[in-house]
Subunit: 377 residues, 2 copies
Amino acid sequence: MKRKNLMTPGPSPVPSFLREALAKEIIHHRTDEFRDILADVHKGLQTLLFTKNPVAVLSASGTGAMEAAISNLFSKGDKVIAISGGKFGQRWVEIANNFSLDVVEMEINWGDAPELKELKKILDENKEVKAVLTTLCETSTATVYDIENITKVAKESGAITVVDAISGLGQDKLLTDQWGVDVVVSGSQKGLMLPPGLSFISINNKAKELMEKSELPKYYFDLKKALAKGKNNDTPYTPAVTLVVALAAALDAINKEGVEARWKKFEKLAKATRSAAEALGLSVLSTSPSASATAIKFPENIKSSQVVKILRDKYGVSVAGGQAQLKNKIIRIAHMGWINAQDLISCFSLLEVALKEVGHQFKPGSSLVQLEEVIYG
Amino acid sequence: MKRKNLMTPGPSPVPSFLREALAKEIIHHRTDEFRDILADVHKGLQTLLFTKNPVAVLSASGTGAMEAAISNLFSKGDKVIAISGGKFGQRWVEIANNFSLDVVEMEINWGDAPELKELKKILDENKEVKAVLTTLCETSTATVYDIENITKVAKESGAITVVDAISGLGQDKLLTDQWGVDVVVSGSQKGLMLPPGLSFISINNKAKELMEKSELPKYYFDLKKALAKGKNNDTPYTPAVTLVVALAAALDAINKEGVEARWKKFEKLAKATRSAAEALGLSVLSTSPSASATAIKFPENIKSSQVVKILRDKYGVSVAGGQAQLKNKIIRIAHMGWINAQDLISCFSLLEVALKEVGHQFKPGSSLVQLEEVIYG
């Protein structure tokens, strides 16, 4: 009978109007009815991504679309730079290595965004870099990267930019075409308020030229086929029909509210979350905090996993702990998709209770006062 | 306001108790709650597949699991035989070619099952064949293959057998371990009564040995990772959570009814469907008809696509037409998953109406009499 509150950066909560869409009677995918829905999805994703480039919808979670980017754009031995400052930057490194690319890893501190000068230096030192692989919001550290300028720097060296926007899309600003971002990858289970199982990839003409030369093996994630079929609002293989139907409804709702209005909303929620954490005597991990999630650092004497456990088991609130080197050191609270101010108030109220239980000292209610002030003040 | 009746061999209808499961509040996948559900899914799939081998659940539609079989078991230049007597046999050929295997295509007439002698001959002529790639129910022709004996013949030559059971599983008999089938691939949207978006792959020890030697690139479909994580009821990447939750409910319902009882039920429905077609003066395409679907041949003077269109647009009934060389020549009616006798009665009643519209002559009601007789007689 316990009520639950999902505050993790993916899966994030699915609102009832979308859960109802998921429960609709299934339709066949080789029909005009489905093609009309997929047409709406394509348009809706273009609006959300601020792009006129085609967007392919893949029936796989986000990592599948990341693999699609690698296996469709490159060939064995192609040199790429992967910006790695967290678990998802590392994922680019892993995928690119698995497909035998020549990967230059630009390692940065977990919690920092990449320095443009440093990126420029690496690009200058490495000739014939085909692409910079990077991340809009590095979910493991809740850090937003400066995609606009990363793209600019990459372009100066003739490299394309491939962005994992899986957790950032919808909260962190991304102007695909205006910034000249060549490839953007995203997924259904974060800002789009849906269950996991769908991913997307937008591809501009420069990236399409690379696709023509790619010699890596692929089939399920063959983007040439996906884009060719996509032109007629069709898919090469059976798509995850119910998720596509619900995605049309999600995009309609998001685009009606307005992407830019939502960016502002989430920026404010992010700012409020940071203030609330600081009011509890905690600090924010990231030097470039994302609008999609906040990573809160814990003092040495408190294991964050203990607080995560209390929140989940005792109070039904799911927040994320730290991964890899950040294990036990942080908690991560999402403000994305369907999560709103009231969810944050509720979450921080219980975080205060849990922190008290583990002996952390702070002024009771202080985080809530900050949330109210930043959000409504 | 038109009521619809989905009689296609995938997606097939999703019953309301599963649509309700799909609409449940989403849960996080890195929790005991989800791991318990995935444990049930693993056990349920083993029961359905009659195997003690581990089964990996992949968040992709069936073609993704077919690719996983190829990219995880083989290396460039490995010789395989692909039995190709329809669109899905051809898919094995395409995937294996895309991954640079040395593919020997055993072409058979569309609508026939492979001759064991012919397979034996090809195996004898080709040394060092690593695997026979084949299909339980070739959906495009509604033909069931003799997997038990194909496996036996392959084993005599030291080759493993990899079976696409995407549309056949749950209706066409398959005793994975007893028959010694090495790898079985399936999907969620056919006999399992769910939307598309999940696929499964069971792997025995002999296939695992091949996995150790495979040098093809993979990441999202890396089965070593999937099986290692699967041991602890976990997944390498974010799974399609809601589909997994609904799958647990589907497997529970199917296994409670009993897989063998369901085989008998669908055999009877298939037999009834064939009798009904013949009563209308039509014939059955396949010389080895499946229990999952029936392909009905049309006389030369009637385009099957016209009948498909009338059924769909005027009466809300979706049946499948023919693909590729069978375009306009057949219709395919599914009897799988949630489809029952009443659905067939309703479908044939409207098929009679549509056939009358296109000028085909038959005794009105004759197909319904046959259905009643075979099913209830």
